[in-house]
Symmetry: C2
Amino acid sequence: MIQTMPPSPSAQSTSPFKREDMRVQKLDYIRRAASELFNKKGFDATSLDEVAEKIGISKPSIYYYYKNKSELLLGCYIRTLDLCDDILAETHQLEGSALDKICHFTRQLIFLNCAKGAIAVVSEIDALPAEAIGPLRARSRDLTRRLKRLIADGVADGSLRPDLSDVTTLFIMGAVNWTPRWYREDGPMTPTAIADAYIGFLVHGVAAEADRTPDT
Amino acid sequence: MIQTMPPSPSAQSTSPFKREDMRVQKLDYIRRAASELFNKKGFDATSLDEVAEKIGISKPSIYYYYKNKSELLLGCYIRTLDLCDDILAETHQLEGSALDKICHFTRQLIFLNCAKGAIAVVSEIDALPAEAIGPLRARSRDLTRRLKRLIADGVADGSLRPDLSDVTTLFIMGAVNWTPRWYREDGPMTPTAIADAYIGFLVHGVAAEADRTPDT
DNA sequence: AGGAGATTTGACTTTCAAGTCAAGACCGCG
DNA sequence: CGCGGTCTTGACTTGAAAGTCAAATCTCCT
């Protein structure tokens, strides 16, 4: 499972900025490997030796780039939130109903969840450096708030059912955040197929016709 | 966070079976505390000292009842699968369409996920004793298979959309399995309200009308 | 070439939780 | 009582992974 690390500083470079570029690339490289493993096995179950081995470097090298394991996790989460922010921003640019926007957001999030190492599902908050927990929670809440607003917009513009509560976002996030648990690149479904199916459920539900509400 | 352990052997008993009853009760008691913590923080992030402290006993006591940490996890998962089996069996008894049954199953599963320590989301399979992994996977797959069959039944009896694929179960399980991450007993939503909302999404989707398929 | 800084690593120390054990507490019995 | 078995625990050992460090290597520049 060894992938190749970006070559050590330069190799063929000429530009004076190569060093810094390299550093950023390696930070990123390590973060991706870590995200992938944290996602698959959980933070505590993943040792830095494994992360190092996955990309063919040694553990101390990781410490050269990250202060400690918690900071690495923090890096993963910040990246995740950045990407979510990006998608959401992009989403707001779109023409169309709030429902269209929600579908777009969901689709993009599924893509990210299927892309190796792109993001880490933010769930092990307690493992973060103590001083980072507050700010991260705040960002998280802000994201949730904007999603809820999108739902409210949808109710307002008539594209969503009028009785939708705040759990809607949790429902969507649950389904989406679960994908990394079972998605395999070599599995039978492409990310696009997954997104199509999920959006189908989300928009129309699973019932054959929009009729009675079965209940028990 | 200390709850009271069932009293030590007897206390007031007379029956000759009390001993064995006690043992079963304590096995269960420990399992519940563990399930709750494993669910909330993950298996590796939970130490047995924490489990012990939660119920006011010492770590060696846990070892008196369970061979080791993995066996305790196994106990949690077996219990979870047992409960799922029960619900599914109960579900099959019901009169009604496959959709009705799916809704019932979903609702009951949400209740279990909200009930403290009732079940542990089966996700850290690798942490189980090696020899238990195979059988547990088999049971898990069997459960999934039966759920898929329920979906197929629904397509056949016309209560579900005809184009539903196998991801349907994953979609549902994702949304449901995510609930323990955010559900709080003192939160704004009761399990019933959550179940109602989720089933609403599931059956009808979120769109105001069953019209076009927004896509991006 | 060769020296300065940047990067990497083998070998080490530290820490923390899993797991053990033998001594003690508790219980129901004669 | 006090004895035998059941249960509980403080104090310990062990192992694995976090984290450190100084020596080795690499890169670029002159």
